[in-house]
């Protein structure tokens, strides 16, 4: 086969071209996409992730509450909406073209927007040491726990006395306190404040165990009417209405017992017995006096 010189030259130039291209392709490295992310930012922020490279790619954002996918162009910035970064935690921004590259960043809680206030107990007897306790936790407006130390002012006020008033900084996201209950039965208000934020709770101080329980009795045509003096604790607080007083009578016919609730500070019962009877009463750990009555039929 004979070749013209022109053909030979064309073939040589083409092969040279392809060879050069192949050489260039092998020698020049491919430029991988890179991501530039902020170190950390507050929840609900606007932010931008910058990318390098060129061409189309898929962008993934994986984090708490978020697992999104979007098509992007490398070399252009990727805007993240506040809604995508509402939850505090670690996020991974991933860009995939031929290969995948990723970068991680952290979202922290925004400034406090509400306070959770846990108080115990809801009812506390008076004069109990360290009986009342509480924990305050600040949250941002996305319900993320604010871990940066925040000063919380706590006040505990009874009807006529302030039981506790102090500023306590949060540690690990919480501030806690403990205090004794007051002397007077009644409602107690607890207020926690942090800047403009306030949380209020209430608990009830109730009378302690009854003290000096005394009874009196009166024979009547219908039986023996037994009644307590106003039942109070040792601090003078009236014992809650509804508290049970057990009246007992012992006589030749047997024993009689009536569980009667206190109403208006006093418990009453009618014992339908005749003859000599010994009356007594008990409420909680308090025992009352004894009375001997002889009711004739």
């Amino acid at each position: 086969m004979s070749w013209s010189i022109t053909t030979i030259l064309k073939i040589r130039s083409l092969s040279g071209f392809f060879g050069a291209t192949l050489t260039l392709a092998l020698a020049v490295p491919v430029v991988a996409q890179e991501l530039s992310v902020p170190q950390s930012l507050a929840a609900g922020s606007n932010t931008t992730i910058s990318t390098s490279g060129s061409g189309a790619a898929n962008f993934y954002l994986v984090g708490p509450g978020s697992a999104s996918k979007a098509s992007v162009t490398l070399g252009q910035d990727i805007h993240l909406a506040p809604d995508q970064l509402r939850y505090a935690g670690a996020y991974a921004a991933i860009v995939c073209a031929a290969t995948c590259n990723h970068a991680e960043f952290f979202v922290t809680a925004a400034k406090p927007a509400s306070l959770a206030f846990l108080v115990h107990p809801s009812r506390v007897p008076v004069r109990q040491p360290d009986a009342v306790s509480g924990v305050v936790l600040p949250f941002d407006n996305f319900d993320n726990l604010v871990l940066t130390p925040t000063a919380i002012n706590i006040q505990v006020k009874g009807a006529s006395e302030t039981l506790f008033s102090r500023a306590i900084p949060t540690r690990n996201g919480e501030a806690w306190f403990r205090t004794s209950s007051g002397n007077t039965a009644g409602p107690v208000r607890l207020v926690a404040t942090a800047g403009d934020l306030t949380a209020q709770r209430a608990l009830q101080q109730v009378a302690s165990e009854p003290c000096n329980l005394r009874i009196k009795a009166q024979p009547t045509p219908r039986g023996i009417d037994v009644e307590t003096d106003p039942v109070r604790d040792c601090a003078g607080n009236p014992v809650s209405d509804g508290t049970i007083v057990t009246f007992t009578g012992s006589g030749p016919q047997g024993k009689i017992s009536i569980d009667a609730p206190i109403k208006g500070d006093v418990a009453r019962a009618r014992m339908n017995v005749t003859g000599p009877v010994v009356l007594s009463a008990a409420c909680g750990v308090a025992m009352g006096n004894e009375l001997r009555i002889d009711r004739k039929q």
């Binding site: 999104s68 991933i94 995948c100 990723h102 952290f106 306790s133 919480e174 806690w176």
Partner: protein, 202 residues
């Protein structure tokens, strides 16, 4: 089991006796019956072993250090319960994020943590993403236990293998230390997670 019976049939009009179940058929049938018996034995053994064998689940190691807990001292029973419930929580989290189904974590989370986890699963499902966790180990330290025992704060230094996949293709693979601040509160029958926040440092 032997197939020993032969049936004899005299074809009408023919003098030749037709015997069913000749030697070759007998051998085949014997082989089949032996094979069936063998399969039955093997299958029974497999069932027995699977029943006896411990359940194979994700391998998760959890330790809890309560030495710094306060102001309330953590009770022994509470310590055991928190360990068990936290381990169970991470097993369920791994299963939920792998299958994109919130069902496994029902009752594990409460409050805001429940909301963000449900949202994570929903958005993974929407974008075709799944996350796989394996070889988990969690070192917990109790840093706060409320005076009434109704709240506990834990610092979890966790290590695990994580893969993020899209349509079966791995787009992110890592193994590293992850730090979590965990808030747990007592639920009806277990401790539940109220906050699970990954942080850079405690």
């Amino acid at each position: 089991m032997q197939f020993a019976e032969k049936t004899h049939q005299r074809a009408p009009g023919h003098g030749q006796e037709i015997i069913h179940g000749g030697p070759e058929t007998m051998f085949t049938r014997s082989l089949i019956s032996k094979a069936m018996t063998y399969c039955l034995w093997v299958g029974s053994l497999i069932v027995l072993f699977s029943l006896a064998a411990p359940a194979i689940g994700p391998d998760i190691a959890v330790e809890l250090d309560i030495s710094n807990a306060g102001p309330r001292k953590i009770e022994t029973q509470t310590e055991g319960r928190i360990l068990a419930d936290y381990r169970l929580a991470w097993a369920d989290i791994a299963q939920a994020l792998n299958s994109n189904d919130s069902g496994p974590v029902e009752g594990i989370f409460t409050g805001a943590a429940k909301d963000w986890f449900d949202q994570t699963v929903a958005s993974q499902r929407q974008s075709g993403i799944t996350t796989r966790y394996s070889n988990q180990s969690h070192r917990l330290q109790a840093v706060f236990y409320a005076p009434e025992g109704d709240l506990i704060t834990l610092h979890d230094t966790a290590q695990y293998d994580r893969q993020v996949l899209v349509d079966g293709r791995v787009i992110l693979e890592d193994r590293g230390i992850h730090r979590y601040v965990v808030l747990m509160t007592p639920g009806a029958d277990r401790w539940v997670i109220r906050e699970l926040i990954e942080v850079q440092n405690f």
